[in-house]
Symmetry: C2
Subunit: 363 residues, 2 copies
C-alpha cells in the first residue's frame, strides 16, 4: 500500500491511497469525516461487482448507506443525470456532513464529483476509481465536470475529495484497450515530469504489467504523486503549472471532438497528442529531434498508435483547438516537452507550424 | 460612497461598494479582472430600466458585452433556467477569464452566481443587487443557490464575487413591501451584532429612510460590513459563527415553506422569526424578558408583523424546521440573541419549548 498526500492552500489536504482494499474504505473513512450517512454512486458492471463490498464495509463502520446508480459512458455526463443524482441524495436524506462516494471510472467520478460539489453547496466526497485512467488522472486533482451538447466539461467545479481510495483488484476485469488508455497518461507523466518513469516504461510492457501488482502500484503511485504535486502548487490552474498536465491534450481533445468520441479512447488520442507535442517541441526548440522516435517507440511498445487511423477535417481540428477552453482571449497555446521529464506552456504558436505538426500525425 | 472589504483565506478579498453608480461599473471592473468579455444576467423590469446603462459603461471600458435575460421570482430558481444561462454564456463566447454580472434581486444573484460558479469550473462574477434585501443579504458572502422541487437552495456553491456594486438609485422604484423585507434583515444585523444599529432603527422609520440617501447608505453599509466580517471568519459555515447570520431564519424558512412562499415575503417571515428567536432566547436564558417587547416594537415600527396572519399546520412547521439544512444529524438547532447585539447557536432545544414559542407567534 502506497500513500501520497495532496496538500492545498488553507491547510486542506487529503490522502491518495494506492493498493487499498474496497472493504476497508468504511473504516478508513470513519476517521476522516464526521457524518454517518453515505451515498455510493456507481454504474454497472462495476456496481454489480463491487458496490456490495463497499456498502458492507461502510455499514460495519457505522454508516447508513444508499446506492445511486447512473448509466456509464461519456454520453451520460449530462445535467439530466446530475439532477437524477440530486434526487438520490435527497431520498437518502444526505445532509451537509454526509459523504458521497464515486465508485467507477472517470465518467462516474466527474459526475458524482459535480453532484458532491453542488448538493447543499458541497458535501464531503470520496473517489474510488476503478479504471487505470481514472486512477492516474481524473480521480486526483479535484476537477469535476459535466458535458453540454456544445462540448465536454463545459460545466463543472473544483471540488477536492476527502480521500482517494484505489483498489488494484478492480482492474482485474479491465479490457486491454482500457489498460492502454491509462498507460497513455502514464507515458505523459514520464514525459512531462519523471524521466525515470519514462525509462521504466521503456523497459517493460503490458503483459508484464498485468502480471505484477507491485509494478502496477509503482506506476500508479508515481503518476498520482506527480499529479498531486502539480495540483498542490496550482490548484485552480492560475500559474500555468497545472496546465502542463495537458501535455498532448490540446491535440487529443481536438481529435476526440472531431471524430465524435467514437473512434478513439481518451488515451489513444492522448498518445497521438504526445507524438504531436514531441514534434512541436522540436519546432519551438525545446525538444531534441532524437526524442521524437523515442516517444513514438514507447507509444508503440504499449500498443498505442502514433498517428490517426484516418484523416479528419483539418479546418475542424484547428477550430476545435482554438475553442479548447485552455485557450484564453483567442490564440493557440500548447504544452511542449522540454527534453524527457519536463514540460512548459508556449503561447502564440504560428498556425503554419500547427498545420505542419497535424500533417505529421496523419491529419 | 462607502467601501468595505471582504477578506478571505489564501489572500482572496474583494470590495463591497455602497453608493456606487451603475454607469461606472465597467471602469471599476477593468482594474479588477483581466478578461474583456462580459455577460450581464438580469430580469425585467430591472433589465429594462438599467441594463443599458451597465452595458454602455462596460463597452466604454473596453468590454465586449452580451445580455442574458431570465424570468424573475423564486419559482424560476431552477436548473432549467441555469441551463438556459449556460447557453447564453456559450453563445456570448465567454471563456474562463470572462465576467458574469448579476443585475437584479436575490433570485437573479443566486442563479447567476451558480452559473458563474459552475461554467467552465468557475468564472469571475460581479453582484449588482437592485433590491434592499439583496444589498444587505444575498449579494454579500458568496452563497449561490438553485431550488429543487423538494426545497429551496438544495443545489448551490460557495462562489465569491470579484466585486459587489450597489447603486442606491436602483431602489427608487422599489415597492414599500420590498423595502420592509430588506429592513427585517437590517433589524436582524442590529440584534445579532450591532446594538447601535438596532437603536438607530428604533429612532427612525421608513418615510425618513426613503427621504435620506445618506441614512440609507449608512444602514446598508453597516449591514454589509457585519456580514462581510462574519463571512471573513467563517466562509464555509464550519465554526458556527456564520450560522449566527441565521438568527430568526429557522422559523422564517419553516413559515415560508409551509405557506408555499405565497403569503409572506422573506423579510416578513424573518421579522416573525426574530420575534420568535427573542422569546426562545428568554426560554434558554440568553435574552432578557424586557427585550421581547422591544424587538416586537421595532418590528412593528417598520411596518412588519410580529406573528403569523393565520395559523399553519404545526406538525408541518416542526417537520420543516427539522429538515432545514442547518440541521446536522437530526435535532433542533437555533440561533438565539444574547442581549441586543450578540447571538449564538444553541443545539438540542427540547421540542416542548419549540412548541411553546410557536404558539406565541400564532402557530
Amino acid at each position: 500500500m502506497n500513500r501520497s498526500v495532496l496538500k492545498l492552500s488553507a491547510g486542506r489536504s487529503h490522502d491518495i491511497i494506492v493498493g487499498a482494499r474496497l472493504e476497508n474504505l468504511g473504516r478508513a473513512l470513519s476517521h476522516v469525516v464526521s457524518g454517518r450517512r453515505a451515498l455510493v454512486v456507481s454504474a454497472s458492471p462495476i456496481a454489480r461487482r463491487y458496490a456490495r463490498t463497499v456498502l458492507k464495509g461502510l455499514r460495519s463502520a457505522g454508516f447508513e448507506t444508499a446506492l445511486g446508480l447512473m448509466p456509464d459512458g461519456e454520453s451520460h455526463k449530462t445535467m439530466a443525470v446530475v439532477q437524477r443524482l440530486y434526487r438520490h441524495a435527497l431520498s437518502a436524506q444526505l445532509d451537509r456532513r454526509s459523504i458521497l462516494i464515486a465508485l467507477g471510472g472517470g465518467v462516474v467520478g466527474d459526475v458524482a464529483g459535480f453532484v458532491a460539489a453542488t448538493y447543499m453547496r458541497g458535501i464531503p466526497f470520496v473517489q474510488c476509481p476503478t479504471t487505470l485512467l481514472a486512477m492516474v488522472d481524473a480521480s486526483v486533482g479535484g476537477k469535476t465536470g459535466v458535458d453540454l451538447p456544445e462540448g465536454k466539461n463545459l460545466v463543472g467545479a473544483f471540488w477536492q475529495p476527502k480521500l482517494v481510495w484505489m483498489d488494484m483488484f478492480t482492474l482485474s476485469t479491465l479490457p486491454d484497450r482500457q489498460w492502454r488508455t491509462g498507460i497513455a497518461e502514464i507515458i505523459k507523466y514520464g514525459m512531462m515530469a519523471d524521466r525515470a518513469l519514462f525509462e521504466l516504461l521503456e523497459n517493460n510492457d503490458l503483459a508484464r504489467l498485468k502480471k505484477s501488482p507491485k509494478f502496477l502500484e509503482t506506476l500508479v503511485a508515481r503518476s498520482a504523486a506527480i499529479k498531486a504535486r502539480v495540483v498542490s502548487k496550482d490548484e485552480r490552474e492560475t500559474t500555468g503549472l497545472r496546465a502542463t498536465l495537458n501535455l498532448g491534450h490540446t491535440f487529443a481533445h481536438a481529435i476526440e471532438t472531431v471524430s465524435g468520441y467514437k473512434t478513439y479512447t481518451h488515451g489513444e488520442a492522448v498518445a497521438i497528442g504526445l507524438c504531436a507535442a514531441a514534434r512541436l517541441g522540436v519546432c519551438v526548440g525545446t525538444f531534441p529531434l532524437s526524442g521524437v522516435p523515442r516517444v513514438d517507440a514507447l507509444v508503440t511498445r504499449w500498443g498505442l498508435s502514433t498517428r490517426v487511423k484516418r484523416a479528419l477535417s483539418r479546418p475542424k481540428i484547428l477550430a476545435a483547438m482554438a475553442r479548447d477552453k485552455k485557450s484564453v482571449n483567442g490564440g493557440f497555446r500548447f504544452v511542449v516537452p522540454v527534453g524527457i521529464g519536463r514540460a512548459k506552456v508556449v503561447a502564440h504558436v504560428p498556425p503554419d507550424i500547427v498545420v505542419r505538426i497535424l500533417k505529421e500525425i496523419g491529419l
